[in-house]
C-alpha cells in the first residue's frame, strides 16, 4: 500500500469504511433496480422480450398459445426498435402444397436484381462490414471447343491408360465461375449466368447435421430456421453442398427506414448476431399466395415458382415441357429448385 494511505487518520479510515458501506449499498440497490428494470421498466419491451426469449422453447415444440406469445413479444420489440408497426407472421404450411422453383439459365442475364430484391424483402444485413446476400449469381464462360483442342493421345506415351482427351491440356471451358463480375452491361456475349440459392432439398444435409434441430423442413418443402435456437455452430454451412447458408458474424446492419415490416417468424424477421440464415422461399409471401420477391423482380421472367402438387401450375408445366436438371443430383438431396432450358 502506498505511504500516504498508511498515514491516514482514524477519521479518514472511518470515513472510508462508511464510504465503502455506502457504496456497497448503492451497488446493491443499483443491481436490484437493474434486475427490476430487466423485468419491468423502463424499457419494458426490450427487457421483457429478451428475458422471455431466452427461456422459450424450440418453435416446433411450442403449443399454439406459446407460438402466439412469442410472436406478440417479437412484434412489440421490433415495432419499438424499428419505429414502425412490424408484424410477425406464424402461418404454417398450406395443406396440399409443395413448393417448387424453376430457373431458366438460358434466359438469365446476370443483372443481380434478384439478389438485391431478396435483400430488400428479407431484411438481410447490408453495408461494408456485414453484408449478407442469400442469392449469388455465377458468371460462366461459354464453351470454346475446337478440333485443335481435342487430343486423342490421352496420357503421354508410357503413362497410364487414359484414352481420349489429355489430362494436361484442357479443352472447352477453362475459366471457373465468377462471383464478382462487374461488366458495364449484361448479358455479355460470351457468358451465361447461373444463380444459386437454397435448393430447399427434400433430404437436406443441413437439417441432418444440426445438433439442436433448429433447422427443419416444413411439409410444404421449405427448410426453415428458428433463429432463437440456433447456436451458431455452422455445421449446416459445412454440410450444405450448394453454399446456400450465411452466418451473421457481427450484429446485422439493418437500417430502420429500409426494414421490411411484414415478416415471418421462420423467415425474414430481423436476425441477431451469431445465427445462420438462408433463403426461405419468401415464406412470409408464399404462404399468403404471393410470388417470391426474386420471381417478381426478374426482368426477363427467368424465374418460375409454384405448387408442385398442382398439375396445372406453371412449375409443373416447366417440368413437363422443358429440359430440366437439378444441381448436384448425384448427392441425393432431391432439391426442389430446378434449372431448365428452352
Amino acid at each position: 500500500m502506498p505511504k500516504q494511505d498508511s498515514s491516514k487518520t482514524k477519521d479518514n479510515k472511518l470515513t472510508s469504511r462508511r464510504d465503502f458501506l455506502r457504496s456497497a449499498g448503492n451497488y446493491t440497490v443499483a443491481s436490484l433496480s437493474g434486475a427490476a428494470m430487466l423485468l419491468s421498466d423502463p424499457k419494458p419491451a426490450k427487457a421483457n422480450v429478451t428475458w422471455e426469449e431466452h427461456f422459450q422453447k424450440n418453435y416446433r415444440l411450442m403449443t399454439d398459445e406459446e407460438k402466439q406469445e412469442a410472436i406478440e413479444r417479437l412484434e412489440t420489440r421490433y415495432s419499438e426498435e424499428y419505429g414502425k408497426q412490424v408484424t410477425v407472421d406464424g402461418t404454417p404450411s398450406i395443406e396440399g402444397v409443395l413448393f417448387g422453383y424453376a430457373l431458366n439459365i438460358q434466359k438469365c442475364i446476370g443483372c443481380r436484381r434478384c439478389v438485391k430484391a431478396c435483400v430488400a424483402e428479407n431484411n438481410q444485413s447490408r453495408g461494408d462490414e456485414q453484408q449478407i446476400e442469400w442469392i449469388r449469381v455465377l458468371r460462366m464462360e461459354k464453351g470454346k471447343f475446337s478440333e485443335a483442342d481435342r487430343d486423342q493421345h490421352g496420357y503421354p506415351e508410357s503413362f497410364g491408360v487414359q484414352v481420349g482427351g489429355n489430362a494436361y491440356k484442357p479443352a472447352g471451358v477453362v475459366l471457373e465461375g465468377q462471383h464478382y463480375y462487374e461488366p458495364e452491361q449484361v448479358p455479355e456475349k460470351d457468358a451465361f449466368y447461373f444463380p444459386m440459392q437454397c435448393m430447399q432439398c427434400e433430404k437436406p444435409p443441413c437439417v441432418k447435421v444440426c445438433p439442436v434441430r433448429t433447422t427443419y423442413r416444413d411439409p410444404d418443402g421449405i427448410v426453415v430456421i428458428d433463429y432463437n435456437w440456433c447456436i451458431g455452430c455452422r455445421m449446416c454451412i459445412g454440410a450444405c453442398p450448394y453454399w446456400a447458408r450465411r452466418f451473421n458474424w457481427g450484429e446485422p446492419n439493418l437500417p430502420k427506414e429500409e426494414m421490411n415490416p411484414v415478416t415471418h417468424y421462420l423467415g425474414n424477421r430481423p436476425r441477431m448476431k451469431g445465427v445462420v440464415e438462408k433463403c426461405s422461399f419468401c415464406v412470409q409471401r408464399t404462404r399468403k399466395g404471393r410470388w417470391t420477391a426474386c420471381v417478381e423482380v426478374c426482368p426477363v421472367g427467368a424465374r418460375k415458382f409454384g405448387n408442385l402438387l398442382d398439375p396445372n401450375s406453371e412449375i409443373r408445366k416447366v417440368l413437363a415441357k422443358k429440359k430440366v436438371f437439378r444441381l448436384r443430383a448425384d448427392l441425393n438431396t432431391y432439391p426442389k429448385f430446378f434449372y431448365y432450358m428452352d
Binding site: G110, C111, E182
Partner: protein
C-alpha cells in the same frame, strides 16, 4: 460504421459525413422518382405512395430498375378480351396498358390525325421493305430495323391509316395494349408458352385463382430491335447491380479471371 465506436474527436467528422449523406439517403425511394420495370426508357414507372408508408415500387439506387413491388397491381386494367385460350375464368388477370407509356407526348395520336389518316400521306402500294429515312426522332432505330432479318417493315405491324393501332394479318386493328395478338401471329410457339406462363413474367399471386399481372411482349422486348445486335438475346442489355463485397482481406477478384490453361510443360509428366 466505425464512427459509432471511435473517439469523440471523430464525432464532428461523422456529423459532417452524416449531413452530407443524409440528403442522398433521403432521396432514395423518394416519391415522384422514376425507374424502369423491364426495359430502360420504355417501361417507366413513377414512385408514389399508395398508403401511408407504402410505395407502389422501390427503385434500385444504383441502376434505376424496379427492385420491389409494394402493390403489383397498381396502374393495371383487366386483361379483358385478350385472346387467352386457357381457362382463366377463375383467375383475375390484369395487364398494364402500354398506350399511355408509348403515347406519353401524344405523338401517335397527333400523327394519326394530322398526316396518317389516309388523306395526306399516300398509302404505299408496294409492301416491299424500303429504307425510311424519316421519323428518326420518334423511332431512333428506324434505319436499323432488326426484326424479321430485314424482311418486314413498318406497315407489317403498324396500321396503314391509324398510327395509334397495330394491324393483324387480315387488316384489323390491334391495340398497342395487346401486342401479343400481333406477335403471336409469327411467334406462335412463344405465344403459347407465354399463355401457359412458361415464357415472360407475371407478378402477384402464384396460387390458383390468384390475381396476376401479366407482362405483355413489348414490355420486355424492343420490337424494332429484338435481336439486340451480336448478343442475340432478345433482351436489351442493362447495367447489373453491384457485385457482392469481397471477403475480408481480399483486395481484388483477379483469381476468378485466371484461365486455367495448359500445363507449362505439355510434353511431359512431372
Amino acid at each position: 460504421m466505425t464512427c459509432y465506436r471511435n473517439h469523440q474527436t471523430l464525432f464532428g467528422l461523422c456529423l459532417l459525413l452524416f449531413l452530407f449523406t443524409s440528403p442522398l439517403l433521403a432521396t432514395e425511394n423518394q416519391t415522384d422518382q422514376e425507374c424502369f420495370e423491364s426495359r430502360d426508357g420504355m417501361s417507366q414507372v413513377r414512385v408514389r405512395e399508395i398508403s401511408p408508408g407504402l410505395v407502389n415500387v422501390k427503385c434500385s439506387s444504383t441502376t434505376g430498375g424496379v427492385l420491389w413491388w409494394g402493390d403489383p397491381f397498381a396502374g393495371t386494367i383487366p386483361m379483358g378480351d385478350m385472346d387467352i385460350e386457357a381457362d382463366y375464368s377463375n383467375e383475375e388477370a390484369v395487364v398494364k396498358p402500354r398506350e399511355p407509356e408509348l403515347d406519353k407526348n401524344k405523338m401517335l395520336t397527333i400523327c394519326s390525325m394530322a398526316c396518317h389518316d389516309g388523306n395526306y400521306v399516300p398509302i404505299p402500294h408496294s409492301k416491299t421493305p424500303r429504307p425510311l429515312k424519316m421519323h428518326l426522332d420518334t423511332v431512333p432505330d428506324a434505319m436499323n430495323l432488326k426484326h424479321g432479318k430485314g424482311n418486314i417493315w413498318c406497315l407489317d405491324c403498324h396500321h396503314l391509316v391509324e398510327r395509334t393501332k397495330l394491324i393483324d394479318n387480315f387488316g384489323y386493328s390491334i391495340s398497342f395494349n395487346q401486342p401479343q395478338k400481333l406477335c403471336g401471329k409469327c411467334h406462335g410457339q412463344v405465344y403459347r408458352a407465354w399463355r401457359d406462363g412458361l415464357h415472360g413474367k407475371r407478378i402477384g399471386m402464384w396460387d390458383k385463382g390468384g390475381k396476376k399481372r401479366w407482362w405483355v411482349c413489348t414490355e420486355c422486348h424492343n420490337p424494332h430491335d429484338v435481336e439486340q445486335k451480336e448478343r442475340n438475346s432478345g433482351f436489351a442489355q442493362l447495367r447489373p447491380e453491384p457485385a457482392p463485397n469481397l471477403p475480408k482481406g481480399m483486395v481484388n477478384a483477379d483469381h476468378e479471371r485466371m484461365h486455367h490453361g495448359a500445363h507449362p510443360d505439355e510434353t511431359g509428366h512431372e
